[in-house]
Symmetry: C2
Subunit: 219 residues, 2 copies
């Protein structure tokens, strides 16, 4: 299952939970407030300092809460980023699912099919499009997206691919996925903009599969 929006990655782990309970934080009454204040602080920090340059410790200090409370609400830094930016999925989770499927022949098709579903569901709220638009016009947003992507998606996928030139493969796959989102949802060029998901996946899936697993071509 793909975690969605604000509930993404809320899996604190028993150790963190116990630490929070011991401190007797009034989770019921104040949790909503603290949660929103943490998200606000996270948005400010990520935008100002990028993904890599921001720590959960800084965000906790901004809000004046314990570090453990941030972990309690959001788990890891990438899950906090996903929640703060209201992304429709956690690319880290998707990346590990991709890795698990990467050895089978049609995982490219399944990946594209799943992305199309996610984009469709998210279309009404448009956080992903807002982020792509923002990255297209603001250098800070582009840097934030690039750093997050490199840390959270490229790192794990590359580590597991065991292929030549894994980083280049992942950025090539990203170029097709980004372009598909851009042409289908931003520019809305027909007939791709309204082509049915199975057809699009049958065309684009093998491209992703080839970028990630085919032998390196001779230039």
């Amino acid at each position: 299952m793909i975690p969605y929006g604000r509930s993404a990655g809320v899996d604190p782990g028993e150790q963190v939970r116990r630490a929070v309970v011991k401190k007797d934080v009034a989770v019921d009454a104040e949790s909503g407030d603290n949660r929103e204040r943490i998200l606000d602080a996270a948005r400010r920090r990520f935008t100002a300092q990028g993904y890599t340059g921001t720590t959960i410790r800084q965000i906790a200090a901004d809000v004046g809460v314990d570090l453990a409370l941030v972990h309690y609400f959001f788990g890891t830094k990438d899950a906090l980023f996903v929640a703060a930016m209201e992304l429709p999925l956690n690319p880290a989770t998707t990346a590990s699912e991709m890795i698990a499927e990467a050895r089978t022949g049609d995982f490219g098709v399944r990946l594209v099919r799943r992305l199309l579903d996610i984009w469709q569901d998210a279309a009404s709220q448009n956080p992903m499009l807002a982020m792509v638009r923002s990255a297209a016009t603001h250098d800070e947003a582009a840097r934030m997206l690039r750093e997050f992507f490199a840390d959270v998606v490229v790192g794990p996928v590359v580590a597991s691919l065991e292929m030549d030139e894994p980083e280049l493969r992942v950025s090539l796959a990203s170029s097709q996925i980004t372009g598909l989102a851009f042409v289908r949802h931003v520019i809305q060029l027909e007939p791709l903009a309204s082509a049915d998901p199975d057809t699009v996946a049958a065309w684009v899936g093998p491209t992703i599969q080839r970028y990630l697993t085919a032998p390196v071509p001779n230039p």
Copy 2:
């Protein structure tokens, strides 16, 4: 040879040339002024009304010059659009070159190689990036780009491909080309952002070739 920027498509044809000469327009003295005024009017019209809704007649009327003078300076409507938007190439010209090459096995590689060169040269002035950025954030700009692309690129390529589902093929190829431009030049994700053009063409070229000429896959 690919026509560049403001010189793109300046091929008035003998008939138009004679018409202008007969009217004895003071081309030498006033041509610079008139040329700039035509470009300004074109930018305003295209932005306000889109590509399809704008006519060369309207632009000539805005400036108060003869229709033939606009044709004399810029040739066709698509060439005027290219000049007004300062695009680094005329997609109509590139499209006909693509068509001529489309039957050979590696035209995808050659197309991508050429696009990479063009984007590289244009990087200092950035008109293409400005247009992509504009399309990402303004619905009018997205509509203008979509209409221009559909009329000028999709139309001629589709007419010549003689394949099943030609429009879908062209929009799929566009998604990979747009995504490559976006990831390499806007988001600048490494290592694709600085990979050498031959390597990128060897990877991405076969994708374009497949979208345009491979059999339709079963969903």
